[in-house]
């Protein structure tokens, strides 16, 4: 089981799901209507490190963070 958390303005409660790779997470999140306006704009971190590869392998207990567009300062 992995955990997916949605940061900043997305305002969605965390999800838990079975997933072997980030591609599995993508497939599940694409079916969630709450996220339809967010996924194309969001970056992704795995255990607090930014990731760029859908084939990234996941293990039990991993934490995925979904990061919407930023504006510090």
């Amino acid at each position: 089981m992995i955990k997916v958390e949605f940061l900043g303005p997305i305002g969605k409660a965390p999800l838990e799901m079975e997933a072997n790779t980030l591609a599995d997470v993508a497939a599940k999140l694409r079916t969630d209507s709450d996220l339809s306006s967010w996924l194309d704009k969001c970056a992704v971190a795995l255990n607090d490190t930014m990731v760029n590869d859908l084939s990234t392998v996941l293990k039990d207990g991993d934490k995925i963070s979904i990061l919407p567009p930023v504006c510090g300062g």
């Binding site: 940061l7 980030l22 997470v25 504006c71 300062g73």
Partner: protein, 144 residues
């Protein structure tokens, strides 16, 4: 890296940073201050921060600065920051001015693009995500 609830005490922060480096033999110190402007009828800006990723981003910049013989510093606010107060300060110390001038430019621009901080306008006590001023981070759209 320093995070504070509410507006920053810029004079205290810069004074302390200068004191810390007083004997470090840096020839250049370049500060940057971000101050909340009164515009669009806002009362304040408000900020969310994801600290674990911000710390890693900042650690990478400290390594880049160290390779140039320099030091980068930053402080940022969490929560509401009223107009005419400051939410962000950063600074570079370096042996000579050229490195500091170039580093503060690159550091502040990458901060705007990739630091995991979310900004909201505060109007009539309501937080409104500043979507039109926000920037997608590197790698955005991976799951789309």
């Amino acid at each position: 890296m320093e995070l504070y609830n509410g507006p920053l005490d810029t004079k205290e922060i810069f004074g302390r940073w200068l004191d810390e480096q007083a004997a470090s033999n840096y020839g250049a110190f370049i500060p940057f201050v971000g101050t909340i402007r009164a515009e669009d009828d806002i009362e304040a800006l408000s900020f969310d921060i994801y600290e674990p990723v911000l710390q890693k981003w900042f650690d990478e910049w400290q390594e880049k600065a160290k390779a140039l013989g320099a030091v980068v510093k930053m402080a940022h606010s969490l929560g509401d920051v009223p107009v005419h107060t400051s939410s962000y300060v950063s600074a570079v110390f370096s042996p000579k001015r050229r490195v500091a001038l170039e580093l503060i430019d690159a550091f502040v621009e990458d901060f705007k693009a990739n630091a995991p901080i979310w900004k909201y306008d505060v109007k009539n006590g309501e937080r409104i995500y500043a979507a039109d001023r926000s920037t997608v981070m590197n790698g955005a759209g991976l799951l789309a």
